[in-house]
């Protein structure tokens, strides 16, 4: 017997082995419980908007279907479409109607178009407004005013759960 043969490990190449998946199942069970806790049961899922810090409230009402508007410190968006820019809590002059300082023209036009395309949703008149908590009432008022002029008077203020 040569010295090399004496230390070789006997390998069985066709051998099958059972994988121990108990620990993996444990991990998945914990993950599943966590995800079930955070599972949203509301009919509408709202995505957080970049640059918008929502205020906290004790409200217990789940979001409902409606037009999604968001106002951050720098921009006003309809869903994901940029409608107007803000600078130091005031809308750019181009987007404000010269005869009415509360009227945001691009927002009104967009809502009018939406009215024609989605009659069913537009009939509800619901607006889900995600606005930054630091914005002054003057900015929120302009959005509310224009939305109500365009036939969306039911304003729903989106907040995060708190308190």
């Amino acid at each position: 017997m040569s010295r090399r043969n004496r230390f070789s490990v006997p390998l069985k190449r066709n051998q099958s082995f059972a994988l121990n998946i108990t620990s993996m199942t444990d991990m998945f069970t914990i993950l599943l419980v966590f995800l079930l806790q955070t599972y949203s049961t509301s009919e509408v899922n709202l995505d957080a908007v970049n640059g918008v810090r929502l205020p906290q409230s004790a409200s217990e009402k789940n979001p409902i279907n409606g037009v999604k508007l968001s106002v951050s410190a720098t921009e006003l968006k309809f869903d994901k479409k940029l409608l107007a820019s803000l600078n130091a809590n005031s809308f750019d002059q181009a987007s404000i109607d010269p005869n009415d300082s509360n009227f945001i023209k691009p927002l009104f036009d967009e809502l009018q178009n939406f009215n024609k395309e989605n009659e069913k949703l537009a009939k509800t008149g619901n607006v889900l407004l995600q606005a930054d908590e630091a914005l002054p009432y003057s900015v929120i008022r302009k959005v509310m005013y224009t939305a109500s002029m365009a036939g969306f008077p039911n304003l729903k203020l989106v907040t995060t759960v708190g308190q």
């Binding site: 199942t25 995800l35 409230s57 217990e60 630091a134 009432y137 039911n154 995060t160």
Partner: protein, 182 residues
């Protein structure tokens, strides 16, 4: 011959549970839940604009005796609760605390007081100044919506059955009444 058919049961034997199907279900379920999970839970506050509450306004117009509650917010005085009834106005002012923030505890207590005096009213007119932060408005609406003390409830008549019942809601309907002002 009889011994040939006797079953040999070993009560101390161990067996391994087949976890593979369970794991397969979980592997499918986890991505589904990951996609539909809301990690930031969002809620909504309903605020009626003047067009929507026309009916309520009409009701109040038909009943001139019913009280009107207005909440004015400004940066110099704080929150002013104005209760108008029978042509008379009663004003309560809630100022700022030592940190120059609205004294929300006192504000809530005042709302409870007003609600106790007028349990039939569920709507308030909110008139904030232009520079009031949105965060403060949401907080004021929170203070007005529901009573926090569990043993305080307000009487209300069920319009369908006509029976007297009670509620912990104070002023859930908020109308931005100065929204259409120039």
């Amino acid at each position: 011959m009889k011994r040939r058919f006797k079953l040999n049961i070993n009560h101390n034997s161990e067996f391994e549970l087949d976890l593979a199907p369970l794991l397969a279900v979980m592997v499918k379920l986890v991505p589904v839940l990951l996609v539909s999970s809301a990690f930031v839970q969002m809620m909504i506050i309903e605020t009626d604009l003047p067009q929507v509450v026309q009916e309520a306004i009409q009701k109040q117009e038909n009943n001139p005796k019913s009280a009107q509650i207005a909440v004015e917010v400004n940066k110099t005085e704080g929150v002013k609760i104005v209760v108008s009834e029978n042509g008379q106005e009663k004003i309560e002012v809630i100022g700022f605390d030592s940190n120059k923030k609205i004294d929300y505890a006192t504000l809530h207590a005042k709302f409870v007081e007003v609600k106790k005096a007028h349990p039939e009213i569920f709507k308030i007119d909110l008139n904030p100044d232009a520079e009031i932060p949105y965060k403060d408005l949401v907080k004021i609406m929170d203070e007005a919506r529901k009573v926090r003390v569990s043993d305080v409830r307000f009487p209300v008549k069920d319009p369908k059955t006509g029976q007297d019942t009670s509620t912990d809601y104070m002023f859930p309907e908020v109308v931005f009444s100065n929204m259409l002002d120039g």
